[in-house]
């Protein structure tokens, strides 16, 4: 038994994006067609082969997303919200696949933005919002001494807003 070429292994892997119903019904036939199309493209040269490969993978991903989100077809659900959402999602996936540099920029920007927002939110939560890990933390006071202009020390209870001169 000959080992499976890398192109077919990737195709088989991408087939997993479909629901198991769809994969079991059509997976083997889709693989056959993919193999035949690749063989035709190989005869036309390396550039055609690479183009065919990239196009087949992108098409597989886009249609798998569509299949996952619309599920089994319905007779009357063509204009349902679900179908519209799936169409938008498919359109977005195709746009991204056609413009990988734009896609990478969007992902990077979103990643940095979400990461920074999460870090700041965590910091604010720990330093300001979350109560101190002691019972009756609200009764905690800080004592200190401040030298006044007259040279006397003043004990201060900052949390109570009062001070005692000594």
């Amino acid at each position: 038994m000959r080992p499976l070429p890398a192109s077919e292994r990737v195709f088989r892997f991408l087939l997993c994006l479909y629901s198991s119903r769809f994969r079991h019904a059509y997976g083997a036939e889709m693989e056959q067609i993919f193999r035949r199309r690749l063989s035709r493209a190989r005869d036309r040269g390396t550039a055609a082969f690479v183009y065919e490969l990239a196009h087949a993978y992108a098409d597989l991903i886009a249609s798998a997303i569509s299949e996952r989100f619309t599920g089994p077809p319905h007779t009357t659900a063509r204009d349902s919200m679900h179908a519209t959402f799936a169409r938008d999602l498919r359109f977005a996936a195709r746009t991204f696949l056609r413009r990988p540099a734009f896609f990478a920029t969007v992902v990077l920007t979103l990643g940095l933005g979400i990461g920074a927002a999460t870090a700041i939110a965590s910091l604010v939560d720990v330093a300001i919002l979350r109560p101190l890990p002691y019972p009756n933390a609200y009764r905690l006071v800080a004592l200190g001494k401040i030298r006044s202009s007259s040279g006397r020390y003043r004990s201060q209870l900052p949390f109570c807003g009062s001070s005692v001169t000594t």
Partner: protein
């Protein structure tokens, strides 16, 4: 299926370009997935070439909508699925062709298309 027989072909219109190409490829008789792809390429002189993802997604949808019938048969060692038009599928294909013809007539009326084009 009883419910489907009462469905109006017009409720499926307009068809997507891919769906109509598939229905057209099956008007003369049942075909396998690869044959459908080749027939569409032949008829459009290579302008439309369906990848397996798009082709089988559309076939699955058309079967689910009751426009196509799918049956297995054996070719040598292989078990292949043969797709064919259902009566509803034929009616929908005809209705879509009529709709497109109306649009072409309208384009001719405003001289967007030359007569005979």
């Amino acid at each position: 299926m009883a419910a489907r027989s009462s469905v109006s072909p017009n409720s499926f219109l307009p068809l997507t370009a891919v769906s109509f190409e598939i229905l057209l490829a099956l008007v003369e008789g049942g075909r396998h997935g690869y044959d459908i792809m080749l027939e569409i390429e032949r008829r459009t002189e290579g302008r439309v070439s369906l990848n397996p993802g798009t082709l089988y997604r559309a076939l699955d949808r058309l079967v689910g909508q009751g426009l196509l019938d799918a049956a297995f048969h054996r070719v040598g060692e292989e078990r292949r699925r043969l797709f064919s038009l259902s009566p509803l599928g034929s009616a929908v294909a005809a209705a879509e062709a009529e709709r497109l013809a109306d649009q072409v007539r309208a384009a001719r009326a405003v001289r967007l298309l030359k007569r005979g084009a």
